[in-house]
């Protein structure tokens, strides 16, 4: 079977599968606590996403610089210290943006310093990794994190309290249970399933596309 079409198709659509299907948040379940417990309102989503932007980006840069020089156990300490320091500064920025965020996000605002995606990716960064690739990967992780947080938060805030960013909006039914962690797990599971569905469809379309081209080419070939 000629797979060149599939390869080309996947190369064209590389960003989406990487964002959705190959993402550590959606596939490996890292950062679940923030999504499951923390993502109960749009304010929380924005606060966590801003923190993630700074923490992840700076920690990955530091990890790239120290990766060839330190052993893994030394890197664990170094990256944790860096992410904690960045968290302190990013928290101040978040407090400037949303002054009452500590009432909503609570300790999760501080726990972002130890978020699983950052620590996992920073500590297991390859010594041969190139900076542009590291940065692109980090940005994709941040975008997926922000998107996931926003989707989960909007659904839970709208269904749970009938508001968006604290502003009342018309709603069909207010369901307090939606803000409970169990519903966060359910929503997260559905998002993961959606990611897998999109990935499967992309691959499926590529295969169908390829088969169609092959059959057309075979039909157009002169007989004998």
């Amino acid at each position: 079977m000629n797979l060149s079409q599939i390869r080309r198709y996947r190369r064209r659509n590389r960003t989406l599968p990487r964002m959705v299907a190959n993402n550590p948040l959606l596939i490996m379940g890292l950062d679940f606590p923030f999504v499951v417990v923390g993502a109960t309102g749009l304010k929380n989503a924005v606060a966590f996403s801003v923190e993630m932007l700074f923490i992840h980006l700076f920690t990955m840069i530091v990890a790239y610089l120290i990766a060839p020089k330190l052993k893994i156990w030394q890197r664990v300490f170094a990256t944790t210290i860096v992410s904690t320091v960045v968290m302190v500064f990013s928290r101040e920025l978040v407090l400037m943006l949303i002054p009452d965020i500590e009432n909503y996000a609570g300790m999760y605002l501080y726990l972002m310093a130890l978020n699983g995606v950052t620590l996992f990716q920073a500590n297991f960064l390859s010594k041969e990794a190139k900076l542009p690739k590291v940065m692109v990967s980090a940005m994709l992780n941040i975008v997926v994190f922000a998107l996931t947080m926003t989707v989960v938060s909007v659904i839970r805030e709208y269904l749970g309290t009938g508001t968006l960013w604290g502003i009342p909006v018309p709603s069909f039914a207010r369901m307090e249970g939606v803000r409970a962690p169990f519903f966060g797990f359910i929503l997260m599971g559905m998002l993961i399933a959606l990611g897998r569905f999109i990935n499967r469809k992309l691959t499926g379309f590529a295969i169908i596309d390829n088969m169609r081209r092959e059959s057309t080419a075979a039909a157009e070939q002169p007989q004998g």
């Binding site: 069909f172 039914a173 369901m175 307090e176 249970g177 939606v178 409970a180 169990f182 359910i186 599971g189 559905m190 399933a193």
Partner: protein
Amino acid sequence: MQLKKSNPPYITHGDSTRSMMFNVILVLLMLYGMAIFFYGPRALVLGGVGAFSAVMTEWLINFLFRRIKPKIHDLSPWVTGLLIPLMLPATVPFRVPVVAAIFGISVAKLPFGGTGHNVFNPAAAGYAFAVTSFSSDIIFRYPQPLTMIPVWNTSGVSLYPGASFSMSIGGVPGTGIVYTALGNTPGPMGATHILVLLAGLVFLMSRRTIRWQIPVSFLATTTLIGFIFRRIPVTRLYSAAYENMTGLLLFGAIFMLGDPVTTPKRSWAKVAYAVVTAIIVMVFRHVGKVQESFTFALLLMNATVWGFDMGLEHIAKLVRRRKYESVADTKVS
């Protein structure tokens, strides 16, 4: 012996899944008849809303994901949709059974593969979601029986706490044991008709829609626990009777605990499963804060069904092996 690979429910007699579901619907319609007698036509409208929501959710999700051909004649979503309103008060807003049915079908049933594959009972999951989502004033306050409730505006209807609440605070239900047995007491609109429920249980067991091991072991255990550990200041016999007749215990034992898809396969596993479920239900009743804890205990136990199946299968293998070894020893000697 030819082995066939198939999905549960595993039926070894002349019935089909459809006929089993039809039997359950027959009993549920009897309960709806009682609910209409006690509360007026609103009970029927609630049932229709619940059933319609469940069927449409199942059809829509199957249609969207094209996993299996959408089938309206599959009666299992009808059962789920009819069960949910019967666990709620007759004054409940229409949005509650709608949300519960949608949750039960779209979260507890279809993601696991649909009919025959679900790990959790969809009706129990939907009800549990409604309990956690809506305020207890909506879910746990009931109208007085023989009150004609308007279909649309229920704001003028007086609501009272149910017998479960009285028992949870150590009080004896005010209506007495005879009225409680006749269903003439505030409670979920389908779960208070004890005599009808018992008739339904006998019917379903005689039709082999539910196996006798589960409800009998379950009710025997709850009776025993109610007899030994009293929550209310009455005689031991009355305590056991009240425990079985209040709340969703009997209703759940018939329609949700006996669900053939979410129960173990072997007879002894069914007995063990029912006994452990009964113990957990009674523990929740004694120490829990939620009035109707049956569904939570059931969902907890639904997750352990595979363990009962595996454990009892292992024991059965050991017993078989011992038997063969003893026969072989006898032949050698």
